[in-house]
């Protein structure tokens, strides 16, 4: 793995993450993420052939019965939204296509 992390890489990843960054942040993160990845490089030296990955540390997640239970009223959640049409029961957003 190469340890360079360019401003272009930051831009590309920020697009994937839907994150607007300032030019200053792009420069700062390019430098810092290169440092962090260089540091993270040490895990590449650990032999792991045939080792199963661990995705969580608990017991296997237990399945629950598929029963319908009441949830909190829709209005309560709509009330927390920046913009909502409460009577229609909808969150409102700007248009999807430019």
């Amino acid at each position: 793995m190469s340890n360079t992390f360019s401003r272009g890489d930051v831009e590309r990843v920020a697009r994937l993450a839907r994150l607007e960054l300032t030019g200053e942040e792009q420069d700062l993160f390019a430098r810092q993420l290169a440092e962090i990845l260089a540091y993270a490089e040490q895990i590449q030296r650990v032999p792991t052939e045939g080792v199963e990955p661990t995705s969580h540390a608990g017991d296997a997640a237990a399945l629950r019965d598929d029963t319908v239970v009441p949830s909190r009223p829709r209005e309560e959640f709509l009330a927390a939204a920046p913009d909502a049409d409460t009577s229609a029961g909808l969150f409102k957003v700007p248009r999807v296509l430019a």
């Binding site: 990843v13 962090i36 895990i43 990955p53 969580h56 017991d59 009330a79 920046p82 296509l97």
Partner: protein, 491 residues
């Protein structure tokens, strides 16, 4: 009015009606008002809600049996409290008022506790100093120019300063244990799955765990009894039967038959000499209580920090995708399309460390890098777990310093993320392996900064960890030391 500071005494006084829950609540609110301005431990003081709750308890005739009757508690601001702002110390949730309670909130209130407020933390629990809060740093009650550690720094500082006898924090890589060490209080991260995460704003779901701060191991055990156990709302909460954590502390502190593992190969440069000396003295104390001290090896511990930062940021990048300006939280007002709305709301609502971690996490999950970073880190995580499994064949608990240094100065590490991340070198292993871990005070530096001792145990053997920590605590008096700021008011 004189309100005792330990949980059992408060509870008993209220149960006997020597004090009312309202008296205790008002005294607590007064202390917060007097002590918090220089510390900034609290994000929100829920004055009206707390007083109403205390009055309700006072009016009840059947309250005397409640294990936390009238006991004030503060919660890290990443746990949802119905009707009380819950910001995770982020701008993006500045105005968020949850319509529901986290399971720990419901359980605490059912046990008679009075939630007095929400504490400051690193934004979305990402940090080791509480300097990443969008609302200013919390200061360490022992030395105001220093950090309380993090990310649960507000909860640690609130207990250390004597504002509340109890607080909850969350621990993803050390965020309860490290601030407990730096603030001179007890902090416990239970086994993964021991306490429900429902209503905890998720950072890294395979690592996050809620746990208590208190002035003693006994108080930790009392609150743990109230909050531990399976919850249908969190499928990762364990079905394993819950031990009586208070019963585990009974006896005279005899540690005969207990083997304490010491991974001395990890203690080299980077660990402060005064921290090391306090640790060695603490091991002697445990040996004198009858414990057998054995050398253990955690071969892959040096890789634990990079493994942690790959896994935690990957999970965070997914968990934080929900903050998009649509259903709750901050929305950029100048967006003309939905895409712009996402980009701008997130870009402006999140702080620097959170954005840095989202970028890193998105990168390690992206096509072409997933196997080299994310999958590789998960494989090394397996090796780290196996190291602990092997060590626990020869030892019942493992003792390490909680943090390689005592409290550092505000601003000292903010420019260098890797340096900041190394604060957690001794704590992240327990999260990666899902183990219980506690930090108890074990001494002071020459400049009177607290030092913490960490015990880690086998998964779901939380009671053993508490027992060993309790035996150490009762053989020493470090937990009784208070910062000057805590006593200034009681004169």
């Amino acid at each position: 009015m004189d309100v005792p500071f330990d949980v059992q005494s408060i509870r008993d006084a209220v149960a006997r009606r020597d004090l009312s829950a309202s008296d205790v609540c008002r005294a607590t609110l007064d202390r917060i008002a007097a002590l918090d301005p220089p510390l900034n431990a609290f994000r929100t003081v829920a004055r009206d809600r707390a007083l109403a709750r205390a009055a309700e308890l006072d009016a009840r005739r059947d309250g005397a049996s409640l294990p936390l009757l009238g006991v004030p508690i503060a919660l890290k601001d990443n746990m949802c409290t119905r009707g009380v702002a819950t910001t995770a110390s982020s701008r993006i949730l500045e105005n968020y008022i949850p319509p529901y309670n986290a399971t720990v909130v419901a359980r605490l209130e059912a046990a008679g506790a009075v939630i007095v407020g929400k504490t400051n933390c690193d934004e979305f629990a990402m940090g080791s100093s509480t300097e990443n809060s969008a609302y200013g740093p919390t200061r360490n009650p022992w030395a105001l120019e220093r950090t309380p550690g993090g990310s649960s720094g507000g909860s640690a500082a609130a207990v250390a300063a004597g504002m509340v006898p109890l607080a909850l924090g969350s621990d993803t890589g050390g965020s309860i244990r490290q601030p407990a060490a730096l603030c001179g209080v007890v902090g416990f991260k239970p086994s993964y799955g021991r306490v429900s995460r429902y209503g905890l704003l998720a950072f890294a779901s395979s690592l996050d765990q809620i746990g208590p701060f208190a002035s003693s191991v006994k108080d930790v055990a009392i609150v743990l009894n109230a909050i531990a156990g399976h919850d249908a709302c969190d499928s990762t909460s364990s079905q394993v039967a819950v031990a009586d954590f208070c019963a585990a502390l009974e006896g005279d502190g005899d540690l005969r038959g207990i083997r304490i593992g010491v991974p001395r190969h990890l203690f080299h440069d980077g660990v402060d000499a005064e921290v090391m000396a306090a640790y060695d003295a603490a091991i002697d104390v445990s040996r004198n209580r009858g414990a057998e001290i054995v050398e253990v090896t955690l071969e892959h511990s040096p890789e634990a920090i990079p493994v942690y930062y790959v896994i935690a940021t990957a999970e965070a990048s997914a968990n934080l995708a929900r903050y998009d300006g649509v259903r709750y939280g901050y929305r950029a007002e100048d967006a003309t399309t939905l895409g712009d709305l996402y980009d701008r709301s997130r870009g402006r609502g999140f702080g620097r460390e959170v954005k840095r971690r989202i970028i890193l996490g998105t990168y390690v999950l992206s096509a072409g890098y997933y196997d080299a970073y994310y999958r590789k880190a998960q494989q090394v995580r397996t090796l780290i777990r196996r190291d602990y499994d092997r060590a626990f064949m020869n030892a019942d608990v493992i003792a390490m310093p909680t943090s390689p240094t005592a409290a550092f100065k505000l601003g000292e590490r903010t420019a260098d993320p890797v340096q900041m991340y190394l604060s957690d070198v001794f704590t992240v292993g327990a999260n990666l392996a899902g183990l219980p871990g506690i930090s108890v005070p074990c001494g002071f530096t020459s400049t009177r900064l607290p030092i913490g001792l960490q015990f880690t145990g086998r998964a779901m053997e939380d009671a053993t960890v508490l027992r060993v920590a309790h035996a150490y605590e009762r053989a020493t008096s470090w937990s009784k030391e208070k910062p000057r700021i805590a006593s200034e008011l009681s004169r």
